[in-house]
Subunit: 480 residues, 2 copies
């Protein structure tokens, strides 16, 4: 690992991001532009996210299944009326088995088409509903301006696809996923505070009646769409001929939802918590919550190594993910630096002098504080400190988001200036017309991130752009 | 679910297999020939297998990561000398992002090429070794004669790819994976007994120096290759220019292994344990280990439903995966039948009369026995019965495999006759020459499944085909 200082966030955030991702061993580019290799440390973070999402997806009554990667062009084309946006992003298989294919196959950019063409076989009666299914999969969408984790030609995600008897049920499903699955994971596990809202029409998923979103604010003042849940109405059911016999014996179309969260969340963790020294991982997603660095010359100090192993064993018994870094080829200073770059929440230093005093030195990554702790207290204290770090990172990010949220911008020019500088979120009244939305975008490259749900103090009054009566409040920001 | 009887195994095994997979809700065909949809019940079995394999992969020191789906044709082509077998199976992306691609991209049939071209960057010094990595992924290999789970155009698997300093280490890795990861999972969890062995040269993975395999015997007397681990020597390192500075300062090539287990294991579970009434699932992979069927008319019998919920709660607390089937639209008989087809290890029937007597009726799927059990004893007895079913299915399959293994065939014609009838495994001396291997295949369609490791009573003497001195014993069978 390079010991040259990282670029500073305030000087060049994109360079800082790229270097942190690289030096922390999260991911790297592959031979194919835009397709990334997720390295073990980055993948372990993704596995933690997967586990947490999967638990909540199942706890809310869903089951996992798996649909094929390749979708016949004709099936995808039927979706044409619904989804125009995808065509240019799609990768197409034209030959296989040593021959030209009669019909080209799309590598799935998302699976609505294939799944809804299958639901046509699965849904015959109202008794077959609801279908509450999810899949973990890879998808491909060609990216012209790729960025590790944030925009990649291939990414990993889960995509839920449900079918319901009534609109009310489908809408409730969308909000259950938004709040109980996504927001709960992202805030409580990733410690990333999110704004919950609906998308404006122009930012909706193609084919959706309503798109619900979670918007997070990164440390450079730009928004990251952290997860989305779509209420799709009956459009997919109509397009793919999904029809069932209702309770009254009449043919009906079910109501649909779809929802997804992706590997970009790993990028969100980096950009929400990282600082000029590297990553800062929330304990609940950290591959190693504690790294113990024995300070001993080579294998000389058997006592120190034994003590390190004993502490590690106790922490493991207490349910802590711990690693002993006893690599002989590296000095303690190198290991400390690596722990910092990799965002290990707690580093435990254990040397001869500590042992003699019956203590260890514990360093918190989030605040950089060091503390001597009695050996016997390590498991309990470490567990408490990990909880505190988890809570503290969320609090810090929440404060930062509040600080960077401009309420009552005091006029159009002030708002556009704020947005142009990527100051953060700007909240203001909006009339609901595309013209005004487009004008802000032209003037600042910012988009409406969402129309917030349950906003505490909705600003009444006029559209900040045109002065017409506001239909509600919108939150703008530049976005990833 | 159809209530027509299943085809009988002894009448038409392939028809039986197809119907069981369909009626149990494991998988179905998709619009693309050979690509299957894995349905929730089948996917839950796969998730259990994944969890068990993943635990063992990690326990033996490996980390997960993720490489891209699409591989530049030029990278795959470098592998040409090593892997000729793949070309006709590969699906090729020729357009993406709305344009013809300059270089076609292969959808990975396996990831050796991409991974070893990357290891060239990762391995510089002996200190970088070993690399012990695994990925969970989908792969595509065009199939002309597809069969659900067994041969599918796309399948899910894990593929391990390791790099080592010495040949001895790489060989030890291959055997650790074979025994401690694969055989342990397949025998102890899937209750499928396996023969452990090496492949003959003609059956080796292209590019492998040695392929180790686990061979299971299905109920129709045909073998299923359950998992393989390859010792790859230095071939991939040479081809992809992976070179490091050794301990003595000289440039060296690392030694490679790769190993994989796939969704075909789900098919193996079906064909090892299923009977004429449907699936029989080993409890350790059963999505529901116990299904409770309350016997009550509609919602009338609140008492019965409450008791069912209470029993379910106790079982859950005891760590049992349990489902209460209280669907109002179906009669108990239908539910019993469904439990049978789906191979639920234990079915608990609970009606008014049972309640009055303070008992429930418990039916074991493996033996079809029913027993009255006192309510208070259910959790402990159910746990014990599940353990017994797990052990019993393995024992039964082991007995079946022994019964169907022909030792000392008593001459070439007898062996070929046995193999032609798909009698099972036939073990006999083999001189090691391809000619003899090819002759058996021509005469019986059987192949050498493996040259067994640690065979208890190696038959000495002559090659059963040509009478020359045997190099060792081979096991033949018709194979999936
Ligand atoms: Zn306006
Ligand atoms: Zn011979």
């Amino acid at each position: 690992m390079s010991s040259a200082p990282l670029p500073r966030q305030s000087d060049d955030f994109p360079a800082w991001y790229g270097e942190v991702v690289r030096r922390a061993g999260l991911a790297e580019s592959s031979a194919i532009r835009g397709a990334m290799i997720i390295k073990p440390y980055g993948y372990a973070i993704w596995e933690a996210i997967q586990r947490e999402l999967d638990d909540r997806i199942k706890a809310t009554g869903h089951e996992n299944l798996y649909f094929p990667l390749l979708v016949p062009a004709s099936v995808l084309a039927r979706e044409g009326d619904l989804i125009e946006g995808f065509a240019p992003e799609v990768a197409v298989v034209t030959a296989a088995g040593g021959k030209e294919l009669e019909e080209p196959l799309a590598v799935r950019p998302t699976s609505e088409a294939l799944i809804w063409s299958t639901y046509a076989r699965w849904v015959q009666s109202y008794r077959d509903l609801p279908l509450l299914y999810n899949q973990w999969a890879n998808v491909v969408r060609w990216e012209l301006r790729p960025r590790l984790f944030l925009r990649t030609t291939e990414f990993l995600w889960q995509e839920g696809h449900t079918a319901h008897e009534t609109e009310a049920e489908a809408l409730a499903e969308t909000l259950t996923i938004l709040h109980d699955v996504y927001a709960d994971t992202i805030e409580q596990v990733l410690a990333i505070p999110v704004l919950r809202g609906r998308k404006s029409e122009s930012e909706r998923f193609p084919g959706a009646v309503d798109t619900y979103t979670l918007e997070a604010l990164m440390r450079d003042g730009r928004a990251l769409q952290a997860a989305t849940a779509h209420y799709l109405g009956q459009g997919f059911a109509r397009t793919f001929g999904v029809r069932y016999t209702g309770r009254d014996g009449r043919p009906e179309h079910p109501y649909a939802t779809s929802w997804g969260a992706t590997t970009r969340l790993v990028g969100g963790v980096v950009m929400t918590h990282g600082d000029d020294r590297g990553l800062r991982l929330p304990p609940r997603v950290a591959p190693h919550q504690v790294v113990i660095v024995p300070i001993a010359r080579g294998d000389e100090d058997a006592e120190v190594h034994e003590a390190a192993a004993a502490v590690a064993g106790e922490l493991r018994s207490a349910g802590v993910r711990v690693r002993v870094d006893d690599r002989p080829g590296h000095r303690p200073g190198f290991k400390f630096h690596e722990c910092e770059v990799k965002g290990v929440p707690l580093r435990v230093e254990l040397g001869r002098r500590d042992l003699a005093a019956g203590t260890v030195t514990v360093a918190r990554r989030d605040r950089g504080e060091k503390e001597a702790i009695r050996l016997a207290d390590v498991p309990a204290r470490a567990a408490a400190m990990l909880d505190d770090i988890q809570a503290s990172l969320l609090r810090e990010a929440r404060d930062e988001q509040r600080r960077r949220t401009l309420r009552d911008p005091g006029g159009y020019d002030a708002m556009v200036g704020y947005l142009r500088d990527a100051g953060g979120f700007a909240a203001a009244g909006w009339c609901g017309r595309r013209d005004c939305e487009a004008r802000v975008k032209d003037d600042s490259s910012a988009t409406i991130r969402c129309l917030p749900l349950d906003w505490e103090h909705p600003s009444a009054g006029a559209c900040i752009c045109c002065g017409r009566a506001a239909a509600g409040e919108a939150v703008w920001a530049q976005a990833y």
